[in-house]
Symmetry: none
């Protein structure tokens, strides 16, 4: 169940040389990955710093060279995960202009990342409001950004297709469909991200009233 995300914690990682800053970031990334898995399994409160240190093979005290507190650790995970998923999304949307395909790209991007980094996403979904104001505000801000992107995609689609539905309910229902996955996903029964994105996209897009989208079995993402 190990997270497989490749992290890009420091923007100064361009050069190939193993600068000391680099080594620090790599270690931190390693710790973050392990911690993500443990948080996923036991929850934030249920995971002890001893669990986390054991998982990353570092001494309890040593962990504190990389973050100031358990809370900051959760914060770093959330910020990093959200940052990555948004970055990937923007990259994908650049190449697509068709409103429906843009929504399908959003769904696929979300599900692909979700399934590839289940631990991270479960932590993201679950350990939502456990961050105190200081850290919480930063994360909430990134979340709002992500939410706003989805809203814009839907509004654009609504105008193009001349549809009428509550954008808010629609967006939040979509997030619900996607984020609930960690509860039930089973690779054998449920297939990969592409298949799930297709199915959920069908349900959602037809659901919000597109007449065109029904039956369009060969629509593709990326």
């Amino acid at each position: 169940m190990a997270s497989t995300s490749t992290t890009a914690l420091s923007s100064s990682r361009r050069a190939a040389e193993l600068s000391s800053e680099n080594r620090f970031d790599q270690q931190l990334a390693r710790i973050l990955e392990h911690a993500t898995d443990v948080f996923c399994e036991k929850g934030y409160e249920g995971a002890s710093m001893r669990d986390l240190s054991r998982a990353s093979g570092m001494s309890l005290a040593g962990m504190y060279h990389y973050f100031r507190s358990k809370e900051e650790l959760l914060f770093l995970i959330q910020k990093h995960t959200f940052g990555t998923i948004i970055e990937q999304l923007r990259h994908r949307l650049e190449k697509i202009s068709d409103p429906e395909q843009r929504i399908r790209a959003f769904i696929f991007n979300h599900l692909e990342y979700f399934l590839a980094n289940q631990s991270a996403m479960k932590v993201l979904s679950h350990e939502d409001e456990k961050l105190s104001n200081h850290y919480g505000a930063a994360v909430r801000s990134v979340k709002r950004e992500y939410y706003a992107i989805c809203v814009n995609l839907l509004e654009q689609y609504k105008r193009t297709e001349k549809l009428d539905f509550s954008t808010r309910t629609a967006v939040l229902s979509l997030f619900g469909m996607m984020n609930w996955i960690y509860t039930w996903y089973n690779p054998r029964q449920d297939g990969n991200a592409r298949k799930l994105a297709q199915e959920m996209g069908d349900i959602f897009l037809r659901g919000i009233g597109s007449s065109r989208s029904s039956g369009k079995k060969n629509s593709r993402v990326q």
Copy 2:
């Protein structure tokens, strides 16, 4: 944010006399309600027995007359909540035969209970797998029962309407839409259960391919 569920914990409550058993159940129900709120606010691991005793106005030690452990307390809450929601659902379904209306009744029943007992439902959604095998099995069994009801409703609908979609993905998407509510529900923006059930029902039913349901604005539940 107090739960308002009326509990039916013991079947021996028929008689009007305040038997000692009766008083016991009433006290337990009171504790369960308060504990539900605390679990909702702080999570299962984050809530201490002291928090729970403070919330219910009973001494720490006194709590242990009503349950054997913190884990059993969570179990009782989950069992009771699920029991109540299924009981209500069966009662409603008895009177409805139209397949679509039965699905809409399911959605409305879920959302109505969800919004009336937000704390309980958040605990139900969140503290999912924290129960050890002994208690966990019992709860999982009830959950499967509830899930199966929904699957049956969909299968029936599918046959009637001669539709083609993945029942599993559909059911789980529907649960996702509904269970994610605790994340964002705001009574002022999002209206009451009836309105939300209508909107989500529309999205979902049209989404799975009903041609009839689209535009049917006056379909009613109960």
Copy 3:
């Protein structure tokens, strides 16, 4: 080096019956005495809660039934000690009207308590400003009260004897003489409180300019 102070923590201790409140206070008093000794030996920061629990024969966790934090423990010690010394002082001063004798009574009272409760007084002197604002304010208030009593005694004496000296410097020098004792006191070399009070009283009173007091070898306190 055990403190021997008899504590009067609760004013409701009138009755002889061992009420539950009484037992709580007695236990607390016992803990306070032991803690006083440990603070005296190792200092406030140097003494660990584990040291304190060991000294009082109670489990680490059990201590927290009697105070909320280590800091509050120090606070309770200081408040109690100061309260007792002031109470004794007032009792003594009631019976004395001669200004010089009142000052001598002050000195004797301080030294007697100091020598009988060296641990407590060393803690009082040493762990002065370690209390955060909340607790610190309460203790500082009692200290000011004690200081004010001494100032008044000196002012009265000054008027009676028509002397001229800086009351502030005098009072603070007197406290210095007395409070420094814990650094050097040795019962064999330095005698008991009565003798020390006599000597220090002589030095101090003659020092602030009384012509009468010099040579008055037979002045007595209480």
Copy 4:
């Protein structure tokens, strides 16, 4: 609140060239000054090596090039401070022969250093017995030397003036008066070292029985 003492840690500082040994001593002196302030504010136990390193702007590990342990650091401070104060005292006493003036010089020297180096002196007074036997013996030896000087001055005075008092009590009372200052000194209310030395000298000298000293307002030190 920075200490302003100019340190003379190594006798090899004669030459003007910046020998490496010289640089070492200068760095050590800098560290000692900062550490003194931190010990003063937080106490020996309360000050962490991280606090000390932060205060001196040097890395945590770097500190250990200058002393073997936190304890040795305290030792170096105490030894240095005491060494300096005794050195200054001897220098002053060389030029004075009148017994009373010698005592007044002692008081002034002590207070002047105290007020100029409050941090150092508070540490000296407070962190008294925290040194283990190895280091403690060395410091105690210097303290005894300082104490002995004061005893000699008093004995000489006693013989000259043909007085009768307990030298021990007198010396220790004097130290008490002087060392207690850090508790209350306020430059605005209490004036400078000269004024305080005058006042305390008056109280003390008259207190131990000198008939001459009373009213002698123009006695000077240095």
